[in-house]
Amino acid sequence: MTQFLQQLVNGLSIGSVYALMAVGYSLVYSIMNFSNFAHGGVIMFGAYFGFFGLTLLKLPFAAAFALASCGTALLAVLIERVAYKPLRDRRAPFLYFIISAMGASILLENIVIATIGPTFRTYPEILAREPINLWGLSIGRLDLIMFFVSAVCLTGLILFIEKTRIGKAIQAAAYNMKACALMGVNTDRVVLIVFALGGFLAGIAGVFFGMKYTVYPQIGNITTKSFIAAVFGGLGSLPGAVLGSVILGIIETLVAGYLSSQFRDLIAFVILIGVLIFRPSGIMGKSAEDKA
């Protein structure tokens, strides 16, 4: 029983890392209807910003966090301006956006390899490694903080979208961008805000990822799983992205813990595909249209 609970805790912790990353995909998808594969690169930059903030600039932890998330918000906006805006202006097909996103992702990875170097780096030890022991379970301090920060950020984001005027504009643009523009909403600004929000969360995800694991140029590859989690939860839906991530984390953990670690990904993804066959739009997706 203890082992089962321990595995659930592990699964939740892995799931919350996926969730922070998955939300960025969903946010952009809800407005632009394409998957922003450059998101992984932005997360990787967040991890590096935080790392250099802590080591080179010797910033306190909170300041490094702020630097990373603001830096990635700017980066995400910059990517939008350079890689997507010209396509939007020309009303290019969505496939072009995806190709442009992949290009941006490769570019980001190689910028880091060429300038900072390919080796991985380790965050200085900010939190004690010793876990908190609760009813026979070991819970990492970082996991707890990560869980709460993720929860606060995601709730804040959902409130922002539900309650503010800009949030209303985002919702409207998500429903129909053209009609929204006809109603006098500055959709260009809405797009920028969405990218800034996604970038901000990417920065937080990157710093957490770096603290928990390590920093290296290929961090972006991990986001493949969070992208899948976002699809599973229903691309375009924020609560869906969170739910999909947590479920993926827990399924992975339980499969590895009880069935077979050799077949973890195989079994986990067969389950996900099974769910998508019955609910093509994911658990909380808005409609059954093309999710590429």
Partner: protein, 386 residues
């Protein structure tokens, strides 16, 4: 028309003569290929190997080059990055043999990259000396030795057997758990032979868990290992994953002794793994404090300003092997060098290197057992598996 052809051929002859004359004045060059990872997880090692080869070649050249068949030659290395990727390994081997016309290739360090290049080497008749590629299949496939593949290190069965023997004999472990990388030949190989040797000696394997390259979270597998209550955990994979999984194991409250292979040693293991890897043991190719390696270590540090990694020692001996073979062959040609390599019997800094004719492995090399104490690798003993 005819005059033009005549002029052309005259010109060609003149150019060829000019070429010969030019070559006669300075020493001829022997081109040697090297490839390995200069980007990605294993870039630390690739860079270290290439730097070592460059340093040694410069040293030979400063002394006027090497003597092959009564003629002086300078050595030149052509190094390519294969990103640690098997497909890329095949591509750069084709480039080295086809375009650059190298006489031999040094590296790669990873078995998974050394295995697929054999057909290209055979077609081009260019020998390769792998550095830390410990999988048996690098030189022998289906019981037949590959004519152009050699290596300077001992092989996985040996490493796995050494680890199992040491764990059972010296550390008194009776129950072992294994965590390994299912997508990696090296890790699979070590695991297989550790398992076989440990069981043969009378121990039991209580957990045998795996992960996939690129994974960063191992807690599900570790929690399962924890429940099986082993005496020792065998972790035959590379330092990044070792550091991550060791940290996570300690976070889960596991305090078992950990043991690994030659994928462990790296400065980054200590900086990342910190306290989590304290007290762990690993099998290595040499002892870092051995007086035989001190000279090379010092020269490397003086030239590049940082410590050499394990790979440097082995590529150092690979260079010795190649130079020895070139001199004995007396000809700068891949086929003759390969023939000479088969009868290699030299003293390298990592030990005696006597190549076995039917395995192309250095036979009878001792393994060193090291323990991590206060962030240092402390030599325990030379241990040979029975």
């Amino acid at each position: 028309m005819r005059t033009r052809a005549l002029l052309c051929s005259l010109l060609i002859v003149a150019l060829a003569l000019a070429g010969c004359a030019g070559g006669g004045q300075k020493a001829d060059v022997i081109k040697v290929g090297w490839f390995g990872a200069l980007t990605g997880d294993q870039a630390v090692w690739g860079e270290n190997e290439l730097n070592t080869v460059k340093m040694l070649f410069e040293e030979y050249n400063a002394k006027g080059g090497i003597d092959v068949g009564g003629k002086k030659y300078k050595l030149e290395v052509i190094g390519y990055d294969n990103k640690g990727d098997a497909q890329e390994a095949v591509n750069v081997t084709k480039r080295l043999t086809g375009q650059d016309k190298v006489v031999a290739i040094l590296g790669p360090n990873a078995s998974g990259n050394a295995i697929p290049i054999a057909p290209i080497l055979e077609a081009a008749k260019v020998p390769d000396i792998a550095t830390v590629a410990t999988n048996p299949k690098v030189t022998v496939l289906d019981g037949k030795v590959k004519p152009y593949n050699f290596r300077v290190c001992f092989i996985d069965p040996y490493q796995g057997a050494v680890a199992a023997g040491y764990a059972y004999d010296r550390l008194g472990a009776k129950k072992a758990a294994i965590l390994y990388d299912v997508s990696d030949d090296y890790s699979q190989g070590l695991r297989e032979f550790f398992k076989a040797s440990f069981i043969k000696m009378g121990g039991t394997i209580v957990a045998d868990e795996s992960f996939t390259s690129g994974d960063v979270d191992f807690r599900p597998q570790l929690a399962k290992i924890k429940a099986s209550n082993p005496d020792i955990i065998f972790m035959p994979y590379f330092f990044k994953e070792v550091a991550l999984s060791a940290n996570q194991a300690r976070e889960l409250g596991m305090n078992q002794v950990m043991m690994g292979g030659d994928g462990w040693p790296s400065d980054q293991l200590i900086s990342m793994g910190g306290k989590a890897v304290e007290g762990s043991y690993f099998v290595n190719h040499l002892d870092y404090a051995d007086p035989a390696v001190a000279d090379y270590k010092g020269r490397y540090k003086a030239k590049y300003g940082k410590e050499t990694e394990l790979n440097g020692f082995l590529v150092h001996d690979a260079v010795l092997m190649l130079v020895d073979a070139l001199q004995r062959a007396g000809k700068v040609d891949g086929e003759s060098v390969a023939k000479a390599l088969v009868t290699t019997n030299i003293q390298g800094i990592t030990g005696k290197i006597a190549i076995g004719a039917d395995t192309h492995n250095p036979e009878g090399k001792d393994a060193a057992i090291l323990k991590i104490v206060n962030g240092q690798y402390v030599f325990q003993e030379k241990y040979a598996a029975r």
